[in-house]
C-alpha cells in the first residue's frame, strides 16, 4: 500500500517490541539495540562448551562450564567494570 498519507489526517502505529530470534546456522541470537551475539553449544571438544559469537565483528569465544559458573558468581560490580569501554576493547 504505497499511498502517501494525508498530512491533515491522523495515522496509527502499533508499537511492538522485538521478538526472539533463532537464525539457522547461527543459533539463538541474544540481541538488543546495543549488541548482538549468537550462542550455541559446541561439542567438538572433550567437554561441551558454549560458543558465543559477537555477530557485529565475527569474534568468537568459547566458554567452558567452570568459566560460565564463574560468570554466574561474578559480583555485579565486577560485571559492571567489564562493561566500561576502556576496560579492554577500547583501552588504547
Amino acid at each position: 500500500m504505497a499511498t502517501t498519507p494525508d498530512p491533515q489526517r491522523h495515522d496509527v502505529v502499533f508499537e511492538e517490541p522485538t521478538g526472539p530470534l533463532a537464525v539457522p546456522g547461527v543459533g539463538a541470537v541474544v540481541e538488543s539495540e546495543f549488541a548482538s551475539v549468537s550462542v550455541r553449544l559446541d561439542q567438538s571438544g572433550n567437554s561441551v562448551r558454549l560458543r558465543v559469537e559477537d555477530l557485529r565483528t565475527g569474534r568468537v569465544r568459547f566458554l567452558d562450564a567452570l568459566e560460565l559458573e564463574s560468570i554466574v558468581w561474578l559480583e555485579d560490580g565486577h560485571l559492571t567494570q567489564l562493561l566500561d569501554p576502556s576496560h579492554e576493547r577500547w583501552r588504547g
Binding site: 491522523h10 502505529v13 502499533f14 539495540e33 560485571l79 562493561l83
Partner: protein, 424 residues
C-alpha cells in the same frame, strides 16, 4: 487564525481574559506562544502520566516513552527500582536509546561509546586517557526530577519541587482504586501494547472531550448502532448519570447511577456473568459480598489532568507535540487474575481504538476538524456554558452536572488557568 487576544475585555490577567466561566478563547488552541507557555507551566512542571510498571516487569527492562516534548526512557534497574531517564547522552547530546523497548543493564551511546547504567549513571567511556583515566567525569544521563506511581501508573514531574503525586491526583485516586478493584488480584496491567495515534489537534481538545457527555450520541452513533451497546442512551437529558468535577482539573462521567438502577453485573462491559464465568468466580472469591456491587458499578470513565484518560476498558496517554498536534497512545486494560475478561478487553479495544476501530477514529475526526475550525477567524470563542444553570454539589462536595453537561470542561479550565497564571 483567531486573534491573539480578545480586544473587548479589559483588565485582569491575560488568562482572565482568555478563560471565562462560560467561554474560552480560540487562540488557546492555535497560538504557538501559548503552547510554549503550556510546556513550561504545565507539562514541565505538573505530574504527567508516562506509563505503567507492568511495561517493565523484569529487572533491566526498559521502554521509550514521551513526556510532552521530552524523549524519556523508563527503566527498571537490577534492584527493581524505576527510573525515568532523559534520552540524551551527556557527551554531545545524542539520543542514547533507539529501540522502543528492550532489556539491558546498561546503555551504550552509538556515537563515541559512552556507557551508562540503566540508572543513568555514567559507567565508562572509551580511550579514557583523554579524560585523565576512568571515573573522571561527574556526568550522567538526565533524569526526570520526580518519579512516583499509584497502583502501577507511573507519573513524572520535571520540576524538583511542587505538590506530591498524592496531592496532584486528589480525588482521582478513588477512580484508579475503582479500576483496580475490578481485578480479582487488585492490580491492572498495561502490557497489551500501545497503539500510537498521531492527531493533528491541540491536546486540550482531547482532554476536554474525554468527559464530554454531549457528543457520544452524535459522534459514536455508528459504534453504538453496530454493537447494540446500551451505553449511548446513558448520555442524554433523561439519564441519571452525572458529570463530576473532581477538582485539580480532573473530571469523570459517573454512569453508576444508571448501572445501579439496572443492577445487572457486567452490564457496564456489555456482557453477562455467564459469558465470563472464570472472571466472575474469581471476583466472588476475592471480594465476597462486595463483588456484586463492583461488577454492577463497573469501571471509571475519568480524565486525569493533563493526560491520563481511563475509559472503562482502555487507557489513553495523551502527549502534546506542537500547538496543532498531539499523540494519543491507547491500550487495553488487562486485569490481573482477569481470566477470559482480558481477551475480551483486547478485542473490544481493537474494535474501538484499533487501526480500523470505530470509536477513536470518530473522535479524532472531530478533534482534527475542531482544530481546523478554530483556525478560522470568527466567532472567536468556544462556548462551555452547557449545564451551568443546573449544577449542584454532591454529598462529597464535588460540583456535578447532568450527563451531557460541560461541568468537566469547566473544571479543566479552572485548573488550567491557575497553572498558567503561576510565575514562570
Amino acid at each position: 487564525m483567531t486573534a491573539l487576544l480578545p480586544p473587548e475585555i479589559e483588565g485582569g490577567s491575560r488568562f482572565d481574559r482568555l478563560v471565562q466561566p462560560a467561554r474560552v478563547h480560540g487562540s488557546l488552541y492555535t497560538d504557538p506562544s501559548i503552547f510554549a507557555e503550556e510546556l513550561r507551566k504545565i507539562w514541565h512542571r505538573t505530574w504527567v502520566f508516562v506509563g505503567h510498571e507492568s511495561e517493565v516487569p523484569q529487572p533491566n527492562d526498559y521502554v521509550r516513552k514521551q513526556l510532552a516534548d521530552q524523549d524519556v526512557v523508563m527503566t527498571r534497574d537490577k534492584d527493581g527500582e524505576l527510573h525515568l531517564l532523559i534520552n540524551r547522552c551527556a557527551h554531545r547530546g545524542l539520543q542514547v536509546c533507539d529501540d522502543k523497548a528492550g532489556n539491558s543493564s546498561s546503555f551504550r551511546c552509538p556515537y563515541h561509546g559512552w556507557t551508562y547504567r540503566n540508572t543513568g549513571e555514567l559507567l565508562g567511556y572509551p580511550y579514557n586517557k583523554g579524560y585523565g583515566g576512568k571515573n573522571k567525569l561527574e556526568l550522567g544521563m538526565g533524569k526526570v526530577a520526580r518519579v512516583d506511581s499509584y497502583h502501577g501508573f507511573v507519573f513524572g514531574s520535571l520540576a524538583a519541587e511542587g505538590p506530591s503525586l498524592d496531592e496532584h491526583l486528589g480525588a482521582a485516586k478513588g477512580e484508579i482504586d475503582r479500576l483496580v478493584g475490578l481485578s480479582p488480584d487488585g492490580q491492572v496491567k498495561l502490557d497489551a501494547g500501545w497503539l500510537r495515534h498521531r492527531t493533528r489537534s491541540n491536546w486540550k481538545f482531547l482532554a476536554e472531550n474525554e468527559t464530554d457527555g454531549y457528543h457520544p450520541q452524535f459522534v459514536h452513533g455508528s459504534i453504538f448502532g453496530v454493537t447494540g451497546s446500551p451505553i449511548g442512551a446513558l448520555y442524554s437529558d433523561n439519564s441519571t448519570a452525572v458529570t463530576r468535577n473532581l477538582g485539580d482539573g480532573h473530571s469523570e462521567n459517573d454512569l453508576r447511577p444508571e448501572f445501579r438502577s439496572f443492577a445487572e453485573p457486567m452490564r457496564w462491559f456489555g456482557t453477562t456473568p455467564d459469558r465470563v464465568p472464570g472472571y466472575v468466580a474469581a471476583m466472588h472469591e476475592a471480594y465476597g459480598d462486595d463483588a456484586q456491587r463492583r461488577m454492577i458499578e463497573g469501571a471509571p470513565h475519568v480524565m486525569i489532568f493533563p493526560n491520563l484518560f481511563i475509559a472503562e476498558i482502555q487507557v489513553f496517554n495523551i502527549q502534546p507535540v506542537a500547538v496543532g498536534e498531539c499523540v494519543q497512545y491507547a491500550t487495553a486494560v488487562q486485569m490481573a487474575g482477569g481470566h477470559e475478561l482480558n481477551q475480551r478487553m483486547v478485542s473490544q479495544s481493537i474494535g474501538s481504538v484499533g487501526p480500523a476501530g470505530m470509536l477513536l477514529a470518530d473522535d479524532t475526526e472531530m478533534y482534527e476538524r475542531n482544530q481546523r475550525g478554530v483556525e478560522m477567524a470568527d466567532p472567536e470563542w468556544l462556548d462551555v456554558r452547557r449545564g451551568l444553570g443546573r449544577e449542584s454539589v454532591d454529598a462529597a462536595g464535588f460540583t456535578i452536572g447532568a450527563a451531557t453537561d460541560e461541568t468537566g470542561m469547566r473544571g479543566f479550565w479552572t485548573h488550567y488557568k491557575s497553572l498558567m497564571e503561576a510565575e514562570d
